[in-house]
């Protein structure tokens, strides 16, 4: 009994290494940083509203067995392009946000389709390919935003145009749209602002994902994720299912980016999207997800832990070493480190399972041979 309990604990620790490590980091850093509890809570709630939608979009490709979708950057780009256009048309507030979301859909669908097509050609190395796609598309994005906006895509207002007459400025202000979703229906409890509407939107998406898992398409995706060949034999159109999962993820990422940017209040035109994939993936993994398994719970836990670390690390680092840059570098290192460790754990587990299956097969054959004797 006791032994079984000990084993259970060991298994629990082994399965949740990354989240536990983060709990530890946070437990050390929070007192050192000296932030007040209400300040921390406020920051975390804000960041939850800002990031969760974006991170949720990663769940669908994981379900379809395509790993961590580094190509979510594509959706972020679509959201940014939509927001730039909307802010040029001077449509502010909630209508602006809604219009930006609607506008981002066709761009996201196109990009998601492209990404899915390419990933179908690179089965087995989806992650590295989607990672390179995000770089490739960044080039195309620059081509569109830096050169084609102005001469080809009409941009009226010089406040967002570069002085040379074409291309978009480094930052586009969304001041008139800033936190309009968050402030509508916002509730203050003890100095902590809770953006109820944003959380409601997130809740709807969570319900959608739960419902989607049970639909025919969702089941197909899980089958494809389990084993592509078996799924194909069962009559599922594997390629099509995978493309659909990419498109869905990209569209959701586009929405997520609009929510993210309305909270930030400005667009860093050429850099907002470049880091977003990395931070979202790191947060998801911190929540205990792995390359082939992720739940909504992982998303919430991950955002809380990851962003707590993110807020307190610079201050705590400055306290320990006397240099605030150390903390800045530390949190970047931790983000990359977490992804590295998770990828390594996933691959070793995959190999272990493979050899386990091989052993079982050998065992079964041996027994069969014995039975024949």
């Amino acid at each position: 009994m006791n032994n079984g309990f000990g084993k259970k604990i060991r298994n629990f620790i082994f399965d949740n290494t990354v989240p536990l490590m983060f709990v530890l980091i946070c437990a050390v850093c929070i007192p050192l940083s000296g932030f007040s509890f209400s300040y921390l809570l406020n920051e975390i709630v804000t960041r939850m509203g800002r990031n969760i939608f974006l991170i949720l979009c990663l769940l669908i490709p994981i379900m379809a067995g395509m790993g961590l979708n580094f190509g979510m950057t594509l959706g972020a780009m679509a959201g940014e392009i939509a927001l730039i256009l909307v802010s040029d048309w001077q449509i502010w507030g909630i209508p602006g946000v809604v219009l930006a979301m609607i506008l981002s859909i066709p761009i996201s669908v196109l990009l998601g389709y492209f990404c899915g097509k390419i990933l179908n050609m690179a089965k087995g190395r989806e992650m590295i390919t989607s990672y390179i796609i995000s770089f490739f598309m960044n080039g195309i994005y620059q081509l569109i935003v830096l050169y084609m906006m102005g001469p080809i895509i009409p941009i009226k207002h010089s406040s967002i145009k570069l002085p040379r007459g074409y291309g978009i400025r480094n930052t586009v202000s969304l001041l008139n749209m800033r936190q309009c979703l968050d402030n509508l229906l916002a509730v203050r409890i003890g100095g902590v602002k809770i953006p109820v509407l944003t959380f409601m939107i997130i809740g709807v998406l969570c319900l959608f994902i739960i419902w989607f898992r049970k639909t025919k398409l969702g089941q197909d995706m899980r089958a494809v994720g389990q084993d592509m060949n078996v799924a194909r034999d069962a009559g599922i159109q594997v390629e099509r299912t995978r493309i659909i999962s990419m498109i869905m993820s990209t569209v959701l990422a586009g929405f997520g980016m609009v929510i993210y940017l309305q909270n930030m209040g400005n667009i860093a035109t050429y850099s907002s999207h470049s880091q977003i994939g990395m931070f979202c993936i790191a947060a998801l993994l911190v929540g205990g997800a792995s390359v082939d398994k992720a739940s909504i719970g992982n998303v919430f836990l991950g955002v809380i832990l990851f962003h707590t670390m993110f807020i307190v690390a610079p201050k705590a680092g400055a306290q320990i070493t006397g240099d605030s840059m150390i903390g800045e570098y530390f949190r970047v290192f931790v983000s990359y480190g977490v992804i590295t460790v998770s990828l390594i754990m996933y691959e070793t587990k995959k190999r272990k399972n493979k050899s386990l299956v091989g052993q079982q097969l050998a065992q079964a054959q041996k027994e069969e041979a014995k039975a024949h004797e």
């Binding site: 390179i132 770089f135 490739f136 080039g139 983000s335 990359y336």
Partner: protein, 359 residues
């Protein structure tokens, strides 16, 4: 009879052209044609042809060794070495320590190589051990090993007890600067050796010879018994194992070689460039090297020295030529976009090819 023979000949010629294009790859052809176009266009738009040529050769000499570092890992089936920054870090440690210990002039370059070597061997061995644990997922993990090591070293550059006044921040007296000038150390130490100058054309003979030496050694190594075994591991691991080759050891060796070459590569780059770049600078250095060797005709599991030379020349040619030519032609600096699209497109193309052997 005669007619059918002619027919067949005709067919083979067309077939051969077709297969040549297929072998060479359409994107590669486009990139080569584009570069040729740039060279032709250069004099017409007022850019000096010879200056352009020397710029291209110069940049070729800076980067070639880092591209060469891709070769061993591709041969052993570890795929493209996106973990190049790990080797670069060993090189940077060698460079900074050599200066810290007070070496100057050409001696500092030799010492940098000597000091970098143990770091590269050690880090390479650890990295190789890790890659052996996760066969099949090398490229993604390599990328992130590179990233995390670079961000880890960002902290270390600040914390390690460096004191040399040429390297640390003036006011704080500690923590390395983001860029360190190599004047008085090994700035142009190879490039200045036997340099040829004719009018606007200048050729960094020393750097080219250094690269040629390393390339020759690599070529010779690949033809030794160990080298052949390494190639066998890459093209068919099951067969190699059956033939009695220790697959894991071969892969480990290839990773160590690649890491060491990356360390040397960054030192060669620095002596040409004239500065040591620390902190986030090595972050994306793997991608140009990866796309260069792919542009040169390598695939995820096949690469030769010729691929390195052709690829580096084409890639660096485009990097140097597009800004000047494009700027003069359409008064728009689209070079960044073209560089990104061409290089990343090339990597994508290579990743989507069906390859046997890997996996």
């Amino acid at each position: 009879m005669n007619e059918s023979l002619a027919d067949r000949n005709n067919y083979t010629v067309r077939d051969r052209v077709k297969s040549m294009i297929a072998n060479f790859g359409l994107p590669r052809l486009i990139i080569a044609a584009f570069l040729l176009l740039l060279f032709i266009a250069a004099p017409f738009v007022g850019a000096d042809f010879w200056t352009q040529i020397s710029n291209t050769i110069n940049r070729f000499s800076w980067n070639a060794v880092m591209v060469l570092a891709m070769v061993p890992m591709i041969h052993s089936g570890c795929g493209l070495n996106f973990g190049l920054p790990l080797g670069i870090i060993s090189g940077l440690l060698g460079a900074t320590l050599s200066i810290e210990f007070g070496f100057t002039g050409p001696m500092s370059f030799v010492m940098a190589i000597l000091i970098a070597t143990p770091f590269a061997l050690l880090l390479g061995a650890g990295y190789g051990w890790l890659l052996n644990k996760i066969k099949g997922g090398e490229m993604m993990i390599a990328t992130y090993v590179g990233f995390s090591s670079v961000s880890f070293m960002c902290m270390m550059w600040l914390l390690l007890p460096y004191h040399s006044p040429t390297m640390v921040w003036g006011f704080a007296g500690k923590g390395l600067r983001t860029t360190i000038s190599l004047e008085g150390f090994y700035d142009k130490v190879l490039a200045g050796f036997l340099q040829i100058r004719i009018g606007n054309l200048s050729i960094p003979t020393g750097t080219l010879l250094f690269f040629a030496l390393l390339a020759f050694l690599m070529w010779a190594f690949l033809h030794t018994k160990t080298g052949t075994a390494m190639t066998a591991v890459g093209s068919n691991p099951t067969f190699a194992r059956a033939a009695g080759v220790n697959v894991d050891r071969m892969r480990l060796l290839s990773v160590v070689m690649s890491t060491w070459l990356a360390a040397i590569g960054i030192l060669v780059y620095e002596q040409g460039f004239g500065f040591i770049q620390l902190y986030m600078a090595p972050f994306y250095m793997a991608l140009p090297a990866v796309s260069a060797i792919l542009i040169g005709g390598a695939s995820v599991n096949k690469a030769s020295i010729a691929n390195v030379i052709i690829g580096t020349f084409l890639f660096q040619g485009i990097v140097t030529m597009t800004p000047t030519v494009m700027n003069n032609m359409i008064h728009m600096d689209m070079s960044e976009v073209i560089r990104v699209v061409a290089s990343q497109g090339m990597i994508l193309y290579a990743l989507t090819r069906k390859t046997e052997g890997t996996k």
